[in-house]
């Protein structure tokens, strides 16, 4: 029997028809929508006189446009936000799609609530008109982001035409140093192999530094696969995956659960299976990593200095570095430590789950955010928020000087409403440091939630282990 990768298994088991030229008609098991891009798919579908084929497999949430200030309503700080919210509510109701609306206990960021509710399961295909859908590949599933038009197709026909990507194995081997997280692993990887390093590939993460990771941290790895340019990210199924899913509201129950579990045992790459490309990273060499530029690839360890554009042999990278350093107002050959910050943000589908918040709370406990720093925490889902509150984490955040918000995407991106100020420097647990991502000319440094918390306390960029000296 030929040895297969996890990707091959997922691909083959969903191929309805091979259309030639590397394109297949793939069966789609779950579709997730949100009010920002899903609304437009539902309206597009209606305009074309089509219906949702199977509403029971479609889910929708309000996360991108809704406000995250306590006491929020349908009115948003983003101008015109109400239209998105109302249209989404109307369209989902009409089509009979489950909506996790404002005030629903299951509401939250799509990629946080899908696993939380047991909507994504090992061995499923799931699509969503959102690029970070790859997060859910952490469950041994094929989950990827699509456009709004493709979403219409999946909604109407249960299938998508997909060109088969190549496969890449990224192995993190060895032991991580204390305080180094999944976020650091990804920033390290992308800075070494560039933001386009995995274009055209489905990436599987594996290795002795990946298996000990919690499901939450595995989601952080897969979340950043798209920042590496990948079609998607994924991780083979193990006991942790199964334990995470068991008992979740939409997970199979009873006999079906037993059958599912049996079925999932095979959802791993066979030993010796061939990948088109393989990268091995020495995990013990990774340290706290933070971005200095406007692409996730422009990141360094806090032990390194910001590179001089001249140090890039590649002319394009040199120009990109010059542009980024100008935009970010950072100087070559200086330390990130020297940069004072205006704001700190903990949230987003990358790092806003309960374990993230718990780890941050250890750092914040008994400490205060530096003067002049605006610090905000936005739990990834209403459930995360409630669980954190049950443990008293909200008190720790608030006492330290953090704002404690309702769940949603919030200031992970600037939609025209709330934002960090003009040219403010923000340290952020999000995934994108693009120009203008968090506000006009905002200078975003992406980092792990621990690094964000430590920097908020210090008032300048630093790792949690540096706090002893503050």
């Amino acid at each position: 029997m030929t040895k297969k990768t996890l990707f091959d298994k997922l691909w083959n088991s969903h191929t309805v028809s091979d259309l030639g030229g590397g394109v297949a008609l793939l069966y789609i098991d779950r579709i997730f929508l949100h009010e920002r891009t899903g609304s437009i798919s539902l309206i597009g579908l209606k305009d074309r006189g089509r219906k949702v084929a199977k509403p029971e497999k479609v889910f929708c949430t309000m996360d991108h446009i809704v406000d995250t200030v306590p006491g929020r309503t349908d009115d948003t700080t983003m101008q015109g936000g109400r239209e998105f919210i109302e249209l989404t509510r109307m369209a989902t109701k009409k089509e009979g799609i489950r909506l996790f609306d404002i005030g629903d206990q299951a509401q939250g960021i799509v990629h946080v609530i899908s696993p939380e509710q047991g909507i994504i399961l090992p061995g499923l295909t799931l699509v969503c008109p959102d690029s970070h859908t790859c997060t859910q590949g952490a469950f041994g599933a094929l989950a990827w982001g699509i456009g709004s038009t493709e979403a219409e197709q999946a909604l109407a026909t249960d299938v998508l035409r997909v060109k088969k990507p190549r496969t890449m194995l990224v192995r993190f081997e060895g032991e991580l140093s204390v305080g180094v997280t999944a976020k650091d692993m990804m920033l390290h990887l992308i800075s070494k192999y560039s933001a386009s390093g995995a274009v055209g590939y489905a990436v599987e993460f594996a290795g002795s530094a990946v298996s000990p990771l919690s499901m939450e941290s595995r989601m952080t790895l897969c979340n950043m696969a798209v920042e590496f340019g990948a079609f998607t990210g994924m991780i083979s199924v193990d006991q942790k995956t199964v334990d995470f899913i068991e008992g979740r509201p939409f997970a199979p129950k009873g006999d079906l659960w037993d059958q599912a579990k049996k079925n999932w045992q095979d959802l791993k790459s066979d030993y010796g299976a061939k990948f088109d490309n393989e990268i091995v990273i020495d995990a013990s060499k990774i340290s706290t990593t933070v971005s200095w530029g406007t692409s996730p690839g422009q990141s360094i360890s806090l032990n390194e200095i910001i590179p001089s554009p001249k140090s890039f042999k590649d002319q394009n990278k040199k120009i990109a570095a010059e542009n980024a350093q100008k935009y970010m107002a950072v100087k070559p050959e200086t330390w990130l430590h020297e940069l004072t910050i205006d704001a700190a943000f903990i949230g987003s589908c990358t790092n806003s789950r309960l374990t993230d918040l718990r780890r941050v709370s250890y750092i914040l406990k008994g400490r205060k955010v530096a003067q002049g720093v605006r610090a905000i925490c936005v739990p990834g889902s209403t459930k995360v928020k409630e669980e954190a509150e049950a443990e008293g984490l909200d008190h720790i955040f608030i006492e330290a000087g953090f704002e404690w918000r309702e769940s949603g995407c919030s200031m992970c991106f600037f939609a025209g409403g709330e934002s960090f100020g003009f040219q403010e420097r923000v340290i952020s647990s999000t995934n994108r440091n693009f120009e203008g991502r968090q506000g006009l000319e905002t200078r975003t440094h992406i980092a792990s939630p621990e690094t964000v918390a430590a920097s908020a306390i210090a008032g300048y960029i630093c790792a949690a282990k540096d706090l002893e000296n503050v």
Binding site: V16, S17, G20, G21, G22, V23, L25, Y27, R36, I40, I43, E56, E83, F84, L87, R98, L121, G123, L124, P129, D130, S131, I146, G147, S148, E150, E152, Q153, A156, T157, D158, V159, L160, R161, K163, P165, A195, S196, V199, V226, G229, P252, L256, W257, Q259, N263, G297, N316, K317, A320, F413, F414, A415, G416, R432, F434, E435, G436, R437, L440
Partner: protein, 198 residues
């Protein structure tokens, strides 16, 4: 969607790497649930001065009158990376762009192009740097630039562009295959199917 026709035009050299979809159409420019009216927000962060009055920034290549009405865009590695927003493609299309030439593209962006009448051409950086500043002729039937340089495109993608076809129609031709597959699969993976809503 109208089928893709031959394009003869100058090419706007936006030669940067990693041009992401947030840069192509910033979120703050997507104010309505609509595919229309997005071209004004195209590259807003670069195209306009920061004073909020939408004064053109003379340093940005799109504002160079030499490229007025150009339908071809040249760029660097990983064009259209980042967010899946199809608005990026709708904005480019409404602005008049029909062909984008780059050494690589963001995956989702590439597919969005195909479905919206924009031809994404993969060309090496070296070949791109050698394209002159004159007009270029792009023909999809024989996959050629100026009858000189050939480019690759998946047959299915080409067909979709040439015919301006709708994926839903195409997929529905397979309805009986899909239902057959599904019935089979339900026996193998009954746990994967959610029960119908009441």
């Amino acid at each position: 969607m109208e089928g893709f026709k031959k394009i003869i035009s100058k090419a706007i050299p936006l030669l940067r790497i990693n041009v992401n979809t947030d840069a192509i159409i910033p979120s703050r420019e997507m104010k309505q649930v609509s595919k229309q009216g997005l071209s004004r927000g195209l590259f807003a962060g670069w195209r306009y001065k920061l004073n909020q009055r939408r004064e053109p920034n003379p340093d940005f290549i799109l504002n160079d009158t030499a490229y007025k009405d150009a339908q071809i865009l040249l760029s660097g590695d990983n064009f259209g990376c980042g967010s899946s927003r199809e608005h990026a493609v709708w904005a480019l299309h409404e602005y008049g762009i029909r062909v984008i030439i780059a050494p690589s593209f963001g995956d989702i962006f590439y597919k969005n192009c195909i479905r919206n009448g924009i031809l994404p051409i993969l060309l090496s950086e070296q070949d791109i740097s050698q394209l002159s500043d004159n007009e270029h002729k792009i023909t999809l039937d024989n996959q050629m630039i100026n009858d000189e340089i050939s480019f690759e495109i998946a047959p299915a993608d080409k067909k979709m562009l040439v015919d301006g076809l709708d994926d839903i129609e195409l997929n529905l031709k397979h309805t009986s295959d899909i239902r057959l597959w599904e019935n089979n699969d339900r026996m193998k993976r009954p746990w994967a199917y959610l029960s119908k809503l009441k």
